[in-house]
């Protein structure tokens, strides 16, 4: 049903991506802005403060905001050029309905009528759960909260999940298991006071560039740096110790480091006894992980593993940071737990300059995972299967507890259920799964099977091209709200301009749709602030307690760290002080975790490990950044990065076109031959769609607890294209 309504080339010609290079009217016409609006970047989880320059009610540029304490005016290329997404030629300005040969503009009234008819018809015939919602972690807290409530009360479906499933859920699940709470344990300022920073699986220079500044300022006062990564990234280049781990072997490495820490007598016995449970089982497990025993599998010499352990033990204060590099695995949760075990065993948490954090990736990756748009969650980071939690939220919503649907499918499971026919209708916002989910052929086939697909978006993404109906939503700069940064700091997104033409603010669209679906009583919101006020009440008493946070307090304090359970409470920048954790007994939990290899094994036919990741000038599936000219020029195309030794064995020169083939499919890309990657591994950045998509190659294999895909390891073979033509 939902095959493309026109050729890809025709859709690209009409809806882009096309490239914007200049503000409206060109640089010469920009002049002095009418006002500067203090807000935050629309991209990653660092959520840098910045000012948007507005002239004639249009966003025309960016100015640094040096007073905002997190980034002090610092920005990466994406932030500096993000203003070029405003006034963009590709912008969706009217509701669109699929027609012969493409899409036609229709009125809002007609669009909402059609949406209501189609949703109602599918649910009448196939049950309420046959309509699913996919949401996103770039949405404000207000919108994320609204999406969860919309799915449960307006649609009555259990099937809502979000694209944080592809990003933060492994860290979140592990943090919840170990600490009883899912949030960075320390504010980033603690990095400045530490003695040792261990960065595992995080290309901070490209994926969270502002964190580089914290690392360097710590090093200015003598801190040392250990980096664990299969690639020698810009921050790894200058590290004191670089552990070039083979992709998928992080757990064995961290168990080995803990093995050595125990051997060196580095365990903080008093902390472990007073504030944790389960250490003995971990100590027993890591006994099998002597550095010499695992070095070959891990791909790092044993003496370097011992060196890392010795540095960790010797440092009075330490900060451990990790990101998707250790999380995008079928054992992503266990990888994170192996890091947490090291932190807990040495008592390195809850102290100024000492702690632990995952570097959350998406713009509202933190807040977006707290307020109910996850399949297993209700606002306040509550558990949707916990009767007490359900009753608390039911009371705020004014509905019977049993009317709230139970746990639904994860985002990847939603696509499996589309394939099986269980899910027939899909509403999506802020999610481009055709580019971002693994094994994109499977995703495309699912989209083609849907009876009804309705994305809300500002640009027509690769996924949205398959739509029956497209509702034109709002850019970040067109609405008020809050987001929660990687630090757990709740901050204000301020509206700079109004949505152009017939585009509407997302929450207005959702509320209008909810009214049509007969749920008007639950969606009587007149502003983001009104939604936030309800979010505060709904989160009260939950783990992610925002009840004491107001828009005013955020502005006065330059952000408020949750939990903030009362009007008088200043917020909680650092968690776990004095060894108090969030489990009922106040103790942290060790988890004994064992190494097992990645799912997609390298073989003679597929002998090379593919790992995927990001580049500094693009963001996630690229639906925004692939339309910003100066960012596209920086890195115009994906490529496959490989070591000269591998390239030599394969007869590949730098710049040569090569075919990368996995058990799922192939892509043809230019080879980039660099000495800064392991020879058994190649790297492809994943921001592109279609026949350039890294996710044509990746495997549909998921962490059993978190449901995160194993993006970081797939088995591939690589051949020069010319050679293939000849043979």
């Amino acid at each position: 049903m939902a095959e493309l309504p026109a050729s890809e080339a025709e859709l690209v010609a009409r809806y882009g991506p096309s490239l914007a290079f200049e503000p409206p009217g060109g640089f010469a016409a920009r002049g002095t802005p009418d006002r500067l609006v203090k807000t935050h970047c629309c991209f990653c989880g660092q959520q840098c403060g910045m000012q948007l320059a507005v002239k004639d009610e249009r966003v025309v540029g960016v100015e640094p905001w040096e007073e905002f304490p997190f980034n002090r005016g610092k920005l990466c290329p994406k932030g500096i050029k993000r203003y070029l997404q405003s006034n963009h030629a590709d912008r969706l300005l009217h509701p669109l309905a699929r027609c012969d040969g493409g899409f036609e503009e229709i009125s809002w009234n007609r669009a909402l009528d059609v949406a209501t008819e189609r949703i109602t018809a599918i649910q009448r015939e196939h049950g309420r759960d046959a309509v699913a919602v996919l949401s996103g972690a770039s949405l404000t807290n207000e919108k994320a909260y609204l999406m969860g409530k919309f799915a449960r009360l307006a649609l009555g479906t259990r099937n809502i999940d979000y694209n944080g499933r592809l990003c933060m859920v492994a860290a979140g699940s592990a943090n919840l298991k170990a600490f009883g709470i899912d949030r960075a344990a320390n504010p980033w300022a603690d990095l400045l006071e530490t003695d040792l920073i261990l960065v595992a699986g995080s290309n901070v220079s490209e994926c969270s560039p502002i964190t580089t500044d914290y690392i360097w300022r710590a090093r200015d006062r003598g801190a040392r740096l250990i980096v664990v990564d299969p690639r020698l990234t810009p921050i790894a280049r200058t590290a004191d110790l670089f552990l070039p781990v083979r992709p998928g072997r992080d757990l064995a490495l961290f168990n080995a480091i803990l093995h050595e820490v125990i051997r060196l007598g580095g365990v903080d016995r008093a902390f472990v006894a007073a504030h944790t449970t389960g250490f003995d089982a971990v100590a027993e497990t890591v006994r099998d992980y002597a550095p010499d025993a695992v070095a070959a599998e891990v791909g790092v010499p044993a003496h370097r593993i011992r060196e890392a352990a010795a540095m960790w033990v010797a440092a009075p204060k330490s900060m451990l940071l990790h990101a998707r590099g250790i999380e995008h695995h079928t054992k992503g949760v266990d990888n994170v737990l192996s890091c947490i075990n090291l932190v807990l065993a040495t008592g390195r948490i809850g102290i100024p300059g000492t702690g632990y954090a995952t570097i959350t990736g998406q713009g509202n990756g933190q807040g977006g995972r707290e307020h109910g748009q996850r399949c297993n969650q209700l606002p306040g980071a509550r558990d949707i299967e916990n009767p007490v939690h359900r009753a608390e939220v039911a009371a705020v919503w004014g509905v019977p507890e049993e009317s709230i649907p139970r746990k639904g499918a994860t985002a990847p499971e939603i696509f499996e259920k589309i394939h099986s026919g269980e899910i027939r209708g899909l509403i999506s916002i802020c999610f481009n799964p055709l580019v971002s989910l693994p094994d994109s052929r499977f995703t495309r086939e699912a989209l083609e099977k849907l009876d009804f697909f309705m994305p809300i978006d500002f640009f027509l993404s690769e996924t949205a091209r398959h739509a029956d109906l497209v509702l034109p939503g709002s850019l970040q700069e067109e609405d008020e709200g809050t987001v929660t940064s990687a630090e757990g700091r709740v901050i204000r997104i301020r509206q700079a301009v109004t949505p152009p033409s017939e585009a509407r603010r997302d929450w207005e669209i959702i509320c209008a749709l909810a009214r049509r679906l007969g749920a008007e009583r639950h969606f009587d919101f007149d502003s983001p602030r009104a939604i936030f006020e309800e979010l505060r009440r709904a989160s009260r008493g939950g783990t992610a307690d925002y009840s004491g946070i107001t828009y005013e307090k955020i502005e006065e304090q330059m952000g408020v760290f949750w939990p903030c359970p009362s009007d008088e409470h200043p917020g909680t920048p650092r968690l776990f002080e004095k060894g108090r954790f969030y489990h009922a007994d106040g103790r942290a939990r060790f988890h004994a975790v064992t190494y097992r290899p990645p799912v997609d094994a390298v073989t003679g036919e597929y002998p090379v490990i593919l790992t995927t990741g990001r580049v500094v000038s693009q963001f996630l599936s690229g639906n925004q950044t692939r339309r910003i000219g100066p960012l596209v020029e920086q890195i115009p195309e994906p490529y496959v990065e490989m070591h000269p030794r591998l390239a030599g064995e394969l007869g590949i020169d730098d710049g040569m076109l090569v075919r990368v083939t996995s058990r799922r499919g192939f892509v043809d890309l230019v080879a980039r031959v660099v000495a800064t990657i392991r020879p058994d591994t190649v790297f492809i950045p994943y921001h592109w769609g279609g026949n350039r998509s890294a996710n044509r190659l990746t495997v549909r294999a998921y962490d059993p607890v978190a449901g995160i895909p194993e993006y970081k390891v797939a088995a591939v073979r690589i051949e020069p294209i010319a050679e293939m033509a000849a043979s």
């Binding site: 610092k74 990466c76 290329p77 200058t238 100066p630 030794r645 660099v674």
Partner: protein
């Protein structure tokens, strides 16, 4: 003009550069630049290393670009800032670009005009930092006084460079390990970093 403080200097620490090009993009946004950046961002040894380095105008005390200009188009202001060529005088001959040991001046062939970093005069004259240094996420570019940078960093600011026999002294500086007195052309040390050696060791 300078209301709050005198115009300070830029300091470059190439070892911290992460190649993100934030400085380049920021420069292109500055007033009067019209989307064109005056900063060069180079991969130092592409393929072998991920090291990159930004080049901004060093604002020489005795600028070669000025002395070789046949049209007398490049002016130095009272603060010692070497300005972009005057549009009404510049003939786009490119002498300045050839003479500059740092390779800073850019010639716009269509306009027959040389443009270069003027230390963000529109910002620095009002007490603000140039946008490149304000945004730089890694501290590879820093704007401030010699005293300020010396207090913050272990590396030592240097503003003396040798090009063959010529010694050039500049307003802006480069941050170097304390053992080096004056910097020759080419900022990449021949010595590999510990991390680079550790990768080689692991894959040997």
């Amino acid at each position: 003009m300078s209301d709050s403080r005198a115009i300070a200097s830029l300091f470059i620490d190439p070892s911290r550069c992460i190649g993100c090009r934030a400085c380049v993009h920021a420069c292109s946004e500055c007033a009067g630049h019209g989307g064109v950046s005056m900063i060069h961002l180079d991969a130092v040894d592409p393929g072998a290393s991920v090291q990159t380095a930004p080049t901004v105008c060093m604002h020489c005390e005795d600028p070669d670009c000025v002395s070789v200009c046949p049209a007398d188009a490049i002016k130095v202001d009272a603060n010692g800032i070497v300005l972009s060529a005057l549009a009404e005088r510049c003939i786009g001959c490119g002498n300045c670009a050839l003479a500059c040991g740092f390779g800073v001046p850019k010639i716009d062939e269509k306009k027959a005009l040389m443009q270069k970093c003027d230390l963000c005069y529109d910002r620095t004259s009002l007490g603000s930092a140039p946008m490149c240094a304000t945004v730089c996420p890694s501290g590879a570019l820093f704007y401030g006084t010699t005293e300020e940078i010396a207090a913050l960093r272990r590396e030592r600011p240097q503003s003396r460079f040798t090009f063959d026999a010529e010694l050039v002294t500049t307003r802006n500086g480069v941050l170097l390990p304390a053992s080096i007195d004056a910097l020759g052309v080419g900022l990449r040390s021949a010595v590999k970093t510990s991390a680079e050696l550790q990768l080689e060791e692991a894959i040997a």
